[in-house]
């Protein structure tokens, strides 16, 4: 399952859904994930990892055959900080999949999907199993 790795477990990622090129994961707020102890706002690096991971989930949900992905590049725009002591939810859409590359858009929000804290655009290399 795309949500299980030591890092995603350490961050406390929770699988929300995955279906036909879309995927969603949430990370509940926790003191040790804060970027600033005074504000209690979740760190940018946590959001980066969440967006990267959710993009991977969206790609693997496009097909049933097992294949792995590796991030080529990931661009993230930070609209605003998350609310203090708020968890974050991300949803990604793999809108184009070629034999070797997946193109993905994603966004993350704390309370309202229409008011994102960050948006992302990424390209991944897709490693397919040896031709069946």
């Amino acid at each position: 399952m795309a949500t299980s790795s030591p890092q995603s477990a350490a961050l406390g990622f929770r699988f929300v859904f995955a279906d036909k090129g879309r995927g969603s994961i949430e990370v509940p707020w926790r003191e040790e994930l804060a970027g600033d102890p005074d504000s209690g706002v979740i760190a940018g690096g946590v959001v980066t990892t969440l967006l990267d991971h959710t993009c991977g989930l969206a790609i693997t949900s496009t097909a049933t055959g097992l294949f792995s992905t590796a991030t080529l590049d990931l661009r993230i725009d930070y609209m605003r900080p998350a609310a203090p002591r708020a968890g974050v939810i991300a949803e990604a859409h793999c809108y184009k999949l070629t034999r070797t590359i997946a193109f993905v858009r994603a966004q993350a929000w704390d309370a309202d999907p229409a008011d994102p804290i960050a948006t992302a655009q990424a390209a991944f290399v897709v490693n397919r199993p040896a031709a069946a």
């Binding site: 030591p6 890092q7 995603s8 804060a34 980066t48 080529l72």
Partner: protein, 138 residues
């Protein structure tokens, strides 16, 4: 580097819980700040290779940029990330990762920063980060 900068760096590393979560360290070699991320099991994103999580490398490079800015600016208000672009060149192996930030332009309100991360050799970078940061009012 001055004692002031060393103190500023120490304060930065102690301050952010996420920096401690990663286990990130940093040191000065002359006036150059090198960030260090010792390997730890919880940083793994791919257990088959195995490889560090791409987000860990991205978060580490973003924190490196913020550390360099906070040391250089000496501002009490930490900078805010506006946007980042991360380029991955090779998988991060389960070993220590290093990063250095290059402040390409520090304006009145906005800084442009390039970061590179490597493991065995600086000639073989694992990833780059380019980002814009909103500077804290001093």
């Amino acid at each position: 580097m001055s004692e002031d900068a060393a103190r500023q760096l120490e304060a930065f590393l102690q301050r952010a819980p996420y920096v401690r979560f990663l286990g990130m360290q940093a040191e000065f070699a002359g006036d150059e700040l090198t960030a260090i991320l010792p390997f730890a099991e919880h940083l793994i994103g791919n257990t088959f290779l195995p490889a560090l999580h791409g987000g860990v490398i991205g978060g580490f490079m973003e924190m490196t940029a913020l550390a360099q800015l906070s040391v250089t600016q000496g501002s009490p208000r930490p900078p805010k990330t506006i946007d980042i672009t991360i380029e991955y060149l090779r998988p991060g192996k389960p070993q220590t990762t290093y990063a250095r930030a290059d402040l390409r332009k520090v304006g009145r309100r906005i800084a442009n920063v390039h970061v590179e991360a490597w493991q065995d050799s600086r000639d073989h970078p694992v990833a780059f980060l380019r980002g814009h940061f909103l500077l804290g009012e001093s």
